[in-house]
């Protein structure tokens, strides 16, 4: 069973930092996948197993769309594949799906390539009659992805860029804080759902804490098997050890031990640099 890439699109390309979208056939995954879940894939037989979020499923439930930023070795090798090239392995859906509320006010916050992850979640919330306020953040205008798609599923929609090249200059948390201050105390937001770089998610958690609003983040811990077998992805949440792959990937942002996560995500920093130098031309 070959997993041939059907479509490929470069969503962003800023001085070599590319965000790439691919569509692959995955009947058995598409039939079951829900918003918030992820897959694990291998580019070659010698490759790593890496987890990536399912960004979309086609309406016939035969293909899935994956969006990734070329960062480490495996995402860069993945970015080199063209339509008709094959993945070595693909498995999922993994992790718990997002629990979708009904008829509530929710914030959906996405930063960088994390926007790919909040898109299916925002859409699922919208479909259940929630009032969706979306805040997207990117370093610069060219790195902003899925803007139109997210606009369509949002009641309120905001964009920030670090350099002010588009939307409001600043961070997603600036807008989030403003809106929380102005929010109607009798009808408060029931949830803030945030996915992005760790510093962003951490800042979101710090921002929402004083407002006592439930905040969920989807964590990008390192994984190997991604089915609960190895414990590589363990994170401390509320002082307890959890496995991101089978207990998550979503956790209460106010309970996550961010320092530990940041450190654990750098376990292979040296080896990653070494192998990238060797294998990426």
């Amino acid at each position: 069973m070959s997993i041939k890439i059907l479509e490929k699109k470069i969503l962003a390309d800023v001085s070599g930092s590319r965000i790439v979208q691919i569509k692959v056939p995955a009947k058995d995954i598409a039939a079951k996948a829900k918003a918030g879940q992820f897959i694990v894939l291998m580019v070659t037989e010698e490759g790593e197993r890496i987890p990536l979020t399912i960004a979309d499923i086609d309406s016939n439930k035969t293909t899935i769309t994956i969006i990734f930023q070329e960062a480490g070795l495996t995402t860069r090798l993945l970015g080199k594949l063209e339509p008709n090239d094959s993945l070595y392995a693909l498995a999922g859906p993994l992790g718990h799906p997002t629990k979708i509320h009904e008829n509530e006010d929710v914030f959906i916050v996405g930063g960088g390539v994390g926007i790919a992850e909040i898109y299916p979640v925002a859409r699922a919330f919208k479909a259940k009659g929630n009032r969706v306020t979306t805040i997207l953040g990117a370093r610069t205008k060219e790195l902003l992805i899925l803007e139109e798609e997210l606009k369509k599923v949002s009641d309120n929609f905001y964009v920030t860029t670090d350099d002010g090249s588009y939307g409001k200059k600043g961070f997603v948390t600036d807008i989030l804080k403003d809106l929380l201050i102005k929010s109607d105390k009798s009808a408060p937001y029931s949830l803030v759902y945030a996915v992005g770089p760790i510093p962003m998610m951490r800042k979101v958690a710090e921002t929402t804490k004083p407002f006592n609003v439930k905040t969920l983040v989807s964590l990008n811990a390192l994984m190997v098997d991604a089915t609960g077998m190895c414990g590589c992805c363990r994170v401390s949440v509320g002082g307890k050890t959890k496995f991101s792959c089978v207990d998550g990937p979503e956790f209460d942002a106010h309970e996550v031990n961010w320092d530990e996560l940041i450190k654990r995500n750098k376990i292979y920093f040296d080896k990653e640099q070494h192998i990238c130098k060797l294998l990426i031309k």
Binding site: E46, G92, M229, V246, K263, R264, I275
Partner: protein, 474 residues
């Protein structure tokens, strides 16, 4: 009454083998096998067979070796065990058939050296069978009307698949990982079980018509009900033990503290010892510490030491275990191998706390010395901490090898599947049928952590019930 000394097995010299992942034990040649087989007393009432979880007719296969009827010996084993080349390498024979052997001194927790080397003879016979395939074990040409799904391609799944295929049943094996073999692939290192042996055994199942589907997670892609509705007459769950246990002590989430599952999966399944040719990394330290005393701990320690040597570091790998040497649950052979290769053992030690540096990497492990008290529920003497005996060991990589809990990925989404307080699947002891009709289970998901051959024993029982059930349905 013992006439001859046991025939020693040839092994690669410790200083050489510890620098690579090639097989350590070289096996008997024909002459050695004949000599060892000749030591067998051919007891009227052979006790060894009672020690084998699958009931191999040990007496007969050894007799056939003495008659140089190796094909016959192979067929005798295959009547009960589909994978003699695997079991001859990984069975803890000294706790099973060899312990029951009449030549073994009694009153020891494991077989004495005088016991017949049944496992080496099994390996010799299995490897002979591999090199001289006979038509008798070729594909079953039955109509394959009935179809059975097997979940998991580890020892239990492979064994069940073989039994069913031989009975003319169509078998499809679903495996969640990208490669087949389960713990035989991700857990047991190639220096104990070379991959060509495992591949050969899996290929021979394929030749019998067994179909394998990797990257398919039952419980995610399909659940058990859907499999039954899809036309499978029965389902066998060989899910294995899944979630690694940790010590629950302070500092355990520091960087470079691995579960044995993660460490071994990186090294074996993902071939991290070939990094950067294989892309999955594993970190290697100056002072590698393995916590635990089972086979998994020995495997992890021997992998760690090899990684150190292969990377030009001086070997420094230590096993910490809270009881004394006699209680080490690992195979005696692996303990000897580990010692020969230079692994240090610090016994009667209980880890208290991991200490790390400012970057979050582990640097030291604080421990307490223990002494042995009265036997506990496991029958082994209980380690008791000695107050004030605190000490530290250098530790820049730690591997926690203290056991596994049930993986609940499938059981959680299958509420009608009854499990016990450990999350293990409950089965009817004779038939191995679960609380769901036509769904059977075996291996570690039933018994907790056991051996490869125990898993196969359960899988055989389940296969027998499945075959009986399907025949009655016809």
């Amino acid at each position: 009454m013992v006439k001859k000394e046991p025939v020693k097995i040839k092994e690669v010299e410790a200083s050489i083998r510890a620098g690579n992942f090639d097989e350590v034990i070289l096996g008997y040649n024909e002459d050695e096998a004949l000599h060892e087989a000749a030591r067998c007393l051919q007891c009227k009432n052979p006790l060894c067979i009672s020690g084998c979880p699958v009931g191999i007719d040990i007496k007969t296969f050894i007799y056939k070796i003495t008659r140089k009827d190796y094909a016959g010996a192979y067929n005798t084993i295959r009547e009960k065990n589909n994978f003699p080349s695997i079991c001859g390498r990984v069975c803890p024979a000294e706790y099973q058939c060899r312990k029951a052997c009449v030549l073994s001194k009694k009153g020891l927790p494991f077989a004495s050296a005088q016991a017949i080397n049944i496992h080496f003879l099994e390996r010799f016979t299995g490897d002979y069978g591999m090199l001289h395939p006979s038509p008798s074990k070729a594909a079953c040409s039955g109509p394959q009307i009935k179809k059975v799904a097997i979940v998991g391609s580890g020892p239990a799944g492979l064994c069940c698949a073989g039994e069913l295929a031989r009975a003319g049943i169509k078998v499809i094996v679903y495996e969640g990982l990208h490669k087949l073999g389960g713990v035989l692939r991700y857990g047991i290192p190639p220096f104990r079980l070379p991959r060509n042996i495992l591949d050969y055994e899996i290929d021979s199942l394929k030749k019998m018509g067994v179909e394998f589907i990797p990257n398919f997670i039952v419980g995610r892609n399909k659940d058990v009900d859907e499999l039954l509705k899809d036309g499978f007459s029965a389902v066998f769950l060989g899910l294995g033990a899944g979630i690694p246990s940790f010590l629950g002590i302070k500092g355990e989430n520091l960087c470079n503290i691995y579960s044995a599952n993660e460490f071994l999966t990186r090294v074996n399944l993902m071939s991290a010892y070939k990094f950067p040719k294989a892309h999955t990394p594993v970190n290697i330290g100056k002072s590698m510490v393995i916590i635990g005393g089972g086979n998994t701990a020995m495997d992890a320690a021997r992998c760690a030491l090899r990684l150190q040597k292969m990377n030009g570091m001086s070997p420094n790998t230590t096993i910490l275990y809270r009881r004394s040497e006699v209680e080490l649950p690992a195979r005696r052979l692996e303990i000897e191998h580990a010692k020969e290769e230079g692994i240090k053992f610090k016994l009667l030690v209980k880890p208290q706390e991991f200490v790390g540096d400012e970057k979050g990497f582990v640097t030291k492990l604080r421990c307490l010395q223990c002494e042995l008290g009265e036997p506990d529920s496991s029958g082994r003497r209980k380690p008791i901490e000695i107050p004030g005996s605190d000490f530290e060991v250098d530790c820049d990589i730690a591997v926690v090898a203290i056991g596994l809990n049930a993986n609940e990925i499938l059981t959680k989404v299958t509420p009608s599947l009854k499990t016990d307080k450990y999350g293990d699947v409950i089965v009817e002891q004779e038939s191995m049928e679960t609380s769901i009709k036509n769904v059977f289970a075996g291996g570690d998901i039933v018994g907790g952590e056991g051996t490869v051959i125990e898993a196969m024993g359960m899988a055989k029982k389940a296969a027998k019930s499945i075959i009986e059930k399907l025949c009655n349905q016809r």
